[in-house]
């Protein structure tokens, strides 16, 4: 049992389900959005009793959905033969192929921070929360990565 009074999980689902689906569509495209939401809701349910407070539950569901979308994307990439990637990438809602290629040389943690900032459009608080670092560290991580990328881009 939890020590904080969390609302019944389904009250959250009924209040925010539609916007989570829209969020998943933006991240993963129409084709994968429902799978992403389904996975996200199960992940959220697994973690739910361990939450230490009942604040910002909507933002938390957005983060869980974002993570589910990223993981689904990675899983799909692993399944694809490499020469098929460009064809598939054209179906996506944004040019993630180009974005991923651009950030590919960067360390894993930095790439995750950049995706959270520019793909999921999280603020630094949100990125900090997701990565378990401070907001200041999140901002530094993103801005130094941008500097690095600028230096590498052909003039």
């Amino acid at each position: 049992m939890t020590t904080v009074a969390l609302p019944p999980f389904w009250s959250l689902v009924e209040a925010h389900g539609d916007e989570l689906l829209a969020h998943a569509r933006r991240l993963a495209g129409d084709q994968h959005a429902e799978d992403v939401v389904q996975d996200a809701l199960l992940r959220a349910l697994r973690a739910y009793p361990r939450l230490r407070h009942a604040d910002h539950l909507r933002a938390w569901l957005y983060r869980v959905t974002t993570t589910a979308a990223i993981d689904a994307h990675r899983a799909r990439r692993r399944e694809l033969p490499t020469d098929d990637v460009p064809a598939v990438a054209t179906h996506d809602t944004y040019d993630e192929g180009a974005f991923e290629t651009l950030i590919a040389p960067l360390p894993d943690g930095v790439r995750t921070a950049l995706r959270l900032r520019f793909v999921d459009d999280l603020d630094y608080e949100g990125i900090a929360d997701r990565l378990g670092i401070s907001a200041v560290a999140a901002r530094q991580r993103v801005s130094s990565a941008i500097r690095t990328l600028r230096e590498r881009l052909p003039a």
Binding site: A5, P8, V13, G17, V37, L42, L45, Y48
Partner: protein
């Protein structure tokens, strides 16, 4: 924005139940006495809410006792739904369904509702005094009346079958009109005016 499709919600709920991630499941049922919210935990039906009770309050009350992992699923509660549908169509008795009286704090009130659930089948009625006696204290008819008035599992624990010894149909947590409808359905509406 598009709401989540029912098929997706059912898939989430079923997967969650299979994985053991769920503290309680609820379903909404259309009946001749209005929409019912039926909430079921691992040990049985813990709460039945009439349509005028805010769903959030009912679910939060259950969450406070069983935990917050509450999901909706018509499919997972198919047996409960079928039993209640059949009852409202005039067949069978929902007191065959298991109940969980966790929400009843006072031991005597719980004993009253247990006796009622166990002993009083559709077609039977009982007075508050006789029910108090079945629960072990014949003089505690007022406590028996309170137990019925606050019954968290109406219909399934059939407090509508409890009548005042003075005649008439008496009071009901969901209002006397509902009590009349249920007694009529069971063919045990008192004829006296």
């Amino acid at each position: 924005m598009t709401p989540l499709p029912d098929s997706l919600l059912e898939a989430v709920a079923s997967a969650a139940v299979r994985e053991g991630l769920v503290d309680a499941v609820f379903t909404r049922l259309r009946t001749p006495i209005g929409r019912l919210l039926v909430v079921q935990g691992g040990h049985g039906i813990i709460r039945v809410g009439f349509e005028e009770e805010p769903e959030d309050h009912v679910l939060a009350e259950v969450a406070g006792h069983l935990g917050p992992r509450i999901v909706a699923s018509d499919r997972e509660l198919a047996l409960t739904r079928d039993t209640l549908d059949a009852y409202f169509a005039g067949e069978g008795d929902p007191h065959s369904l298991p109940v969980d009286l966790t929400l009843v704090g006072a031991p005597f009130r719980r004993a009253v509702l247990e006796a009622l659930h166990r002993d009083i089948a559709a077609g039977d009625v009982v007075t508050y005094g006789a029910l108090a006696e079945r629960a072990g204290n014949a003089r505690a008819y007022r406590a028996a009346a309170t137990a019925c008035a606050r019954n968290p599992v109406p219909i399934v624990v059939p407090c509508h079958r409890v009548l005042p010894s003075s005649g008439g149909i008496g009071r009901y947590g969901g209002g006397p009109e509902r009590k009349r409808t249920l007694l009529e359905l069971e063919g045990s509406l008192p004829t006296s005016r």
